[in-house]
Symmetry: C2
Subunit: 908 residues, 2 copies
């Protein structure tokens, strides 16, 4: 019996490892197996192996049917071998083909191009409908106003409500969230199908309303959603697209499955690329916006997918007869031979600097609005009750102001965002209309010319009004971005400067005989790139404008303006996305400042948490139990002993839980009962008077089974769902159980723990339940558990990470930041000569960086840092732990005879 | 006396640390000090501190004069305080300003723009001179031929000779070297002023000869040289630009001084940017070509510097009246409204795929030529003797073939590279000349039209001849790149396809009424981008062509062709730069294959070196001495003891050498003599008969001093020059010394070691030499040294890196590669639960990757890997060291009682 039990344990052990292997490196394993099969195709022993492979592959029950169908026929061994080899080969081929990156990328690009085109198409129809309604009611201004206002209010309210109901995660841009996800942090529900639907429909409605909202940010999110869903979908065909990998994204950076992160990064590029038909700009923008460190070897993925996507997106337009051939989205027709005069460059530089201030102001204004609404409790309470009121009110305000017969006539209110942009990039000069016009445009430009008001006034009003409107509109809880509105405002500002220049120098600046009049459209291009670059803190908006306009002749002015705008904006405010990350308090590691790494005079020892939860190699299960009860870290440090504190590795919480469950589980207990049964068979017959109590126990046991059915299969590597677990651990006495039992609170928690942990061993145990009967009383069980808890932990079946990331106490903040960013770490242990002395997590690091960043100029240093520096000689600190160890080493033979408290003293 | 000695040692200790601090974080320290001074400006105690700062700052003797001049005047304390505060403030301000990144970047950009412009100007003059000579001699074909041929032969020979004599490192492109340097490997002499001069002059001559050579690669190198030299130059003003940092580049990745790497990366962008006036393309190209992982926070540096540089470069052209305003370098004038038809896309795709094959062929051909010349020993020996013969012969061959009245007439031989490119990008069709031409071009196109031969034949001949000519020419040992020749060939190939299409569809493909004839120039643009992309394995050549031509209308065809070309070329051959890295055997870590990370089933335990050199915490100086004698690693592992093997840190070789020198140094010996003198004063007078031997000792001592004068200042952190040391260590008996002394070889080495190490303590010791006389005999010294060597090492004064990078044995190759690339590691220790079991260096990693990469498809795995997998159950390996440790832990109380050999058994 005991031998049977150990066999069973061995089997469990193998399953554990198989499972571990399965999730971690199925690809490797499958390919290895396939290669081995190919090599030894003729060999006899193959069938066993291939069957083992089959078993492994379909272990998740996905194709259990096939297996069942395939194996009843008893074939002769060689024939069976041949067939299995063939099947395996075919499967491998299919998997390897479907698993190729480029197929995935092509599918992703295709899908996103279609989504982008459909969304654009729907938005165009929505906007046309509004115009048609507005145009049809031109007999009555009031009706016209009603139509003009009601339409967007309804659309925005629907969008807000729909998103709120279906998936609140779809609200907003999505770039901050993607930035966080690509950093390696799990954001639940951000990559689900629900979110996809909510985002696409919500975005279409929001943009269809004509509000000053953008499409770019949401498209980054939509593309990532597409990639995640496509990956899930393709996992039905191949084994490479593993769902767990996406779930596991938090620790992905340290595993081989960086593939998903790479794909998500490519998806971000696709999002921007197919939104603007700007493949290069899309790739660069997505890199700048979402990444901290970029692996150049993944560069091609983004380019490939974004180019394909942009291509299909534009081809769709050609097939739809919107365009004659593939051209830029907002094509300009500037002079090629003399795009701008050298003496115009100061004006471009002025645009850049002003845009820098404007961009910072926009970010500030946006944050101010959000914080104002949050802080004003009266407003907040009211808005919380009527969640759709805020969007409706904002929309009403904005659409009232843009009503064309009303105030809208002074700010080109009747133009949609796209029309405004087209007119702003026009190569004709508005201020002075006397130049021969070669091209014939649609006369949208008329909207800018009010009979009574100067075109400059219109432009200024447009800029000012749109500025706060956009900042306000992007706070509406609908899927929306801010890039496009900012882009249009920038273009308008550039146009304003350009028109002023054209009015100032009617015949151009050039004095060399030939007259080259100033092209205000060029200024608009520069302004658009500069302002959007300032708001997003990116340089690649320059590339985006070239791709959007189809002309690169203004490259130097654009680059100069964008760089100046970035320099100004980055020194004043965080980027819009970082600002939203702060507002939403997303778990993102902020960047260190521009090249001023030296000013962060903080070391790990100043920020680390010294009170580390750890388990020792020779601990008993009770210690394990206590550690699990008191903390809720995802991983725990394993040290050699409490005295030496030598760090040996880290163990996941789930592993420890499964260890405990094995120790306190039903199989173990049944084994114990069996043993006891053989010894006490006679005495057992005498205690028949305890039957009634036994019945109550059975009832309680049923309840317990009910609680624990969530865990249906025994898989130590799979994390135990935290939600039902945590409250049980924290409030052990609340757990449902018969209250008449007079056990101590400690026993309760033990049983409660068992109830929650022992689920799967229970179900397994049920199978061989026939020979022994679980007739222990609760009291007996508690006693037994007490005994079990005092045993030493057997770490043999436990997956231990033998190399958790380690830092030393004197590691600088800059280096820590770099390592955390590069490797996507969640936490790192601080060791001193192998001894664990602290732990640093993302939280501490963020606090430290923000503490230094928020107060500009003056360093805010933690007390320990200043204490350290105020010593008479800073060099004394260089006498590290090691030297002390050495000194100790000289004085006594065993260097480990010191307590952890001693080390705390020292490191201060 | 003993107290004096320990004081002195304490001072040395402080100096050590100060020095350490100085090199590592002077910037931090200076800023801290400045801030503190500002805060406590009125305080009394400041003068001491500021003087200490001064002392620290000018400790290198750079401004020793100033210090001497400044301090003789004895001022009153407050006044002196005030002045010193002011001086310090001014200095700090200047340093902080000069130290700003953007000033450095602006200067770099300016400098490079000037260099680029001057080089271009000189090249143009050279080419004009050749044309003038050739044109003036049109009466006699033979004279014409002589002039045509002699001119380039002379220039190339001069260039080759000049480079060879001044700095052979300047030969070739420079991108492979920069890639290696940015990876973190020290390449001596690659960033010196000599190399700069050789590269600039050599490049000018080489390009002035009219050979098919490029300017891009060398310009990347020149820009990096500029950055390095500028950094040196600016270190005269500020303390941030530290020379040692550049020297120390090997371990820079792990230190805070990543700044220099960042600046070099920016310099590479500047190089490309100012070469083509393509800031965006320059940044992207340099990233793709030189980086593995790119920190997005450094993105702006490249853009800033490259934009500024490109701007100045083009402004210079305007000021020189070459251009009217800032425009693209090779401006095209393609149709804007209908750049290409959708149905032309297959032709573009064909260009892409063909370019992919062509690019791979080019790389292969280039490598083949180099290898052929290397292998043919007869040729090789002959060429080695007459080093300038090979360049001359190659130039003669190429210029003979391009002689315009000869074969050159069939391949547009009289056009320079630039002229060819301009004509190839022409927007007129050559095949059918009947279209109304709006623009009037310089009639270089005539060169393509031979009266007897079709334009297609000319183009084909041009492509074929230039192809092998370029591949051959780039093997000439002059500073030259291959980008531009390849670019021109690509353009010619595109033109060929375009002309064919134009001939096939004379009225364009579009069937919608309007006739849009095919623009062969657009095909040339696509071909140029595709072929150069294929050769360099980059996507950013697309951006470069847009910036070069000033038109972005062909973005989709270009992107499609570039991606296809990359896909084909990358699957066939390494990039040209990687190929050169392999040919030159540069210490670079190759990339893992495209997305097939799973196939590298190698773990660290398979590739690591198990026989690690280490020192123990309780070792004696003799062990140190032996370790230094036997190995020549830059850093050594420090373990707790040979039994436990717990890794405590790593120590640099130089540190150990200084430890040894301190132990065996003259001050120590003098101290010993002093002690002995007090005890044996009487007996000393009796041994006057040893005078003659004493004399011989003195002679030998002089010799020793002569040997050791290289080390003029005591600086333990500065690495001791390796060259004179190594032979002495390896062949101890060869060291120059009086041979009559009958000492054992071991003693010799001890003395030799002392001679080499004790230089600076000797010079310091000379100052207080007055009170005691060094009257020990060689034999006595040897005995004394023996005694000294048996003492235990005092690690107190030693700088120990307490956190060398650690891996575990089961770390996968992919993860190891990622970590090495990300952190720029040189080596990493392999530990198992804190125990040192091996070391992996770049070399092993490279071998492992190349072993897997070269044999396509089939994995070449090291024997250990296959051994591991062939076990019946692969899961047994999961029972890691830790579990064994646990088992041991159960069986015995002390877990460390095993020998290293035991661990070796286990891990196999």
């Amino acid at each position: 019996m005991a031998g049977d039990g150990s066999d069973q344990r061995a089997l469990q052990y193998e399953q554990t490892l198989m499972y571990g292997r399965y999730t971690q490196e199925l690809g490797v394993f499958a390919k290895e197996e396939a290669a081995r099969l190919r090599e030894s195709g003729q060999r006899r022993s193959i069938s066993d192996r291939s069957r083992a492979l089959d078993l492994l592959e379909y272990d998740k029950g996905r194709c259990a049917k096939c297996r069942r169908a395939g194996y009843p026929y008893v074939l002769e061994a060689p024939a069976r071998d041949f067939i299995s080899v063939c099947t395996v080969r075919c499967q491998k081929f299919l998997i390897s083909r479907v698993g190729e990156d480029w197929i995935f990328l092509i599918l992703l690009g295709l899908l996103m191009a279609l989504v982008s085109w459909v969304v654009d198409f729907c938005i165009a129809i929505c906007l046309q409908a509004q115009k048609w309604m507005y145009g049809g009611l031109d007999s009555n201004v009031f009706l016209q106003y009603l139509a003009w206002v009601t339409y967007p209010v309804v659309l925005i309210t629907f969008s807000a409500g729909f998103t709120q109901i279906l998936a609140p995660q779809a609200v907003g841009s999505g770039i901050p969230e993607m930035k966080t996800i690509l950093r390696g942090v799990v954001l639940k529900e951000y990559l689900t199908f629900k979110t996809f639907v909510a985002k696409v429909i919500g975005l279409t409605c929001a943009l269809g309303s004509g509000m000053p909202l953008g499409k770019e940010g949401p498209f980054v999110h939509i593309a990532s959603l597409c990639a995640a869903l496509l990956s899930k979908f393709m996992s039905l065909f191949g084994g490479i697209y593993e769902e767990p990998a996406f779930k596991d994204i938090g620790i992905i950076g340290m595993r081989n499955e960086s593939r998903n992160i790479e794909m998500l990064a490519a998806a971000c590029a696709v999002g921007v690329g197919c939104c603007f038909a700007a493949p290069i700009g899309g790739v660069l923008f997505s890199i700048e916006v979402t990444s901290t460190f970029f692996a150049v070897r993944n560069y091609w993925r983004g380019f490939f997918a974004a180019t394909f996507s942009a291509f299909i997106f534009r081809v769709l337009a050609v097939w739809n007869r919107d365009e004659e051939t593939i051209t830029a989205l907002f094509k300009t027709r500037f002079r090629l031979d003399f795009p701008f005069d050298l003496q115009e460059l100061p004006a471009f530089a002025v645009i850049g600097i002003a845009s820098g201030f404007g961009g910072a102001l926009f970010v500030y204004l946006n944050r101010l609005i959000v914080q104002f609404i949050r802080k004003q409790k009266a407003i907040n309470r009211f808005l919380m009750k009527k969640r759709l009121l805020y969007p409706a009110l904002v929309t009403l305000l904005i659409s009232t102001l843009t009503f064309p017969p009303g105030f809208g006539q002074f700010m080109a209110g009747k133009l949609t965002q796209k029309e405004s942009l087209v007119t702003l990039l026009d190569n004709r000069t508005w201020a002075k209309q006397g130049i021969a016009e070669e091209f014939d445009y649609i006369a949208h430009s008329q909207a800018w010319k009010h009979p009574q008001v100067n075109v400059f006034v219109t432009l200024v009003l447009f800029i000012v009004m749109k500025f706060w409107m956009s900042a306000l509109a992007t706070t509406i809880p609908v899927p929306c971005g801010a890039f496009m509105p900012v882009f249009v405002i920038g273009a308008a500002f550039g146009r304003l400067v350009g028109e002023s220049m054209a009015a100032w120098f009617p015949d151009g600046i050039n004095t060399d005989g030939t007259i080259y009049p100033i092209v205000p459209g060029g200024y608009a291009v520069v302004g658009a790139a500069a302002l959007s670059g300032a708001v997003t803190h990116t340089v690649s908006t320059a590339v985006i404008v070239f791709e959007l306009t189809g002309q690169i002749s203004h490259i130097l002015p654009v680059m100069i303006a964008v760089i100046l705008a970035n320099a100004v904006a980055q020194s004043l405010q965080p980027s819009l996305y970082d600002s939203i990350i702060r507002i939403k308090k997303l778990p993102y590691l902020p960047e260190l400042g521009w090249g001023h790494h030296e000013k962060y005079n903080i070391r790990v020892e100043d920020i680390m948490v010294r009170d580390v939860r750890y388990i020792t190699l020779n601990c008993c299960y009770r210690d394990l139990h206590n550690v699990l009860l008191t903390g809720h870290l995802k991983t725990l440090a394993l040290v050699e002993s409490a005295e030496s504190m030598i760090l040996l590795g880290s163990i996941e919480r789930a592993q420890l839980q499964s260890l405990l469950s094995q120790q306190l589980g039903r199989p173990k207990r049944l084994e114990y009962i069996r043993e006891r049964a053989t010894a006490e068979k006679k005495r057992l017959s005498m205690v028949s008077n305890l039957g009634s109590e036994d019945g109550s126990h059975r009832a309680s046991q049923e309840v317990r089974f009910q609680i624990s059915t969530e865990e249906s299969s025994f898989s130590p590597t799979r994390p135990v769902p935290q939600k039902p677990l945590k409250p049980a651990l924290k409030r052990p006495s609340v757990v449902e159980r018969p209250t008449e039992l007079p056990t101590s609170p400690y026993d309760n928690s033990g049983i409660a723990l068992k109830n929650l942990f022992c689920a799967s061993p229970d179900t397994e145990g049920l199978e061989d339940d026939g020979d022994v009967e679980d007739d222990m009383t609760i009291r007996e069980i508690a006693e037994w558990e007490e005994k079990q808890l005092d045993e030493q932990v057997n770490f043999n079946n436990c997956k231990i990470d033998p190399a958790p990331f380690q830092l030393v106490e004197r590691t600088s903040l800059h280096k820590t930041h770099t390592i955390f960013s590069l490797l996507g770490l969640d936490h790192a242990y601080v060791t001193s000569i192998g001894r664990l002395i602290g732990v640093v997590s993302l939280k501490e690091l963020r606090k430290a960086i923000e503490g230094s960043v928020t107060v500009k100029g003056v360093k805010v240093r933690p007390p320990l840092a200043s204490f350290r520096d105020s010593g008479t000689s800073s060099s004394e600190n260089e006498a590290t732990e090691l030297h002390k160890l050495w000194d100790r080493h000289k004085s006594m033979s065993l260097p480990r005879e010191h307590t952890p408290s001693e080390s705390d003293e020292k490191s201060q």
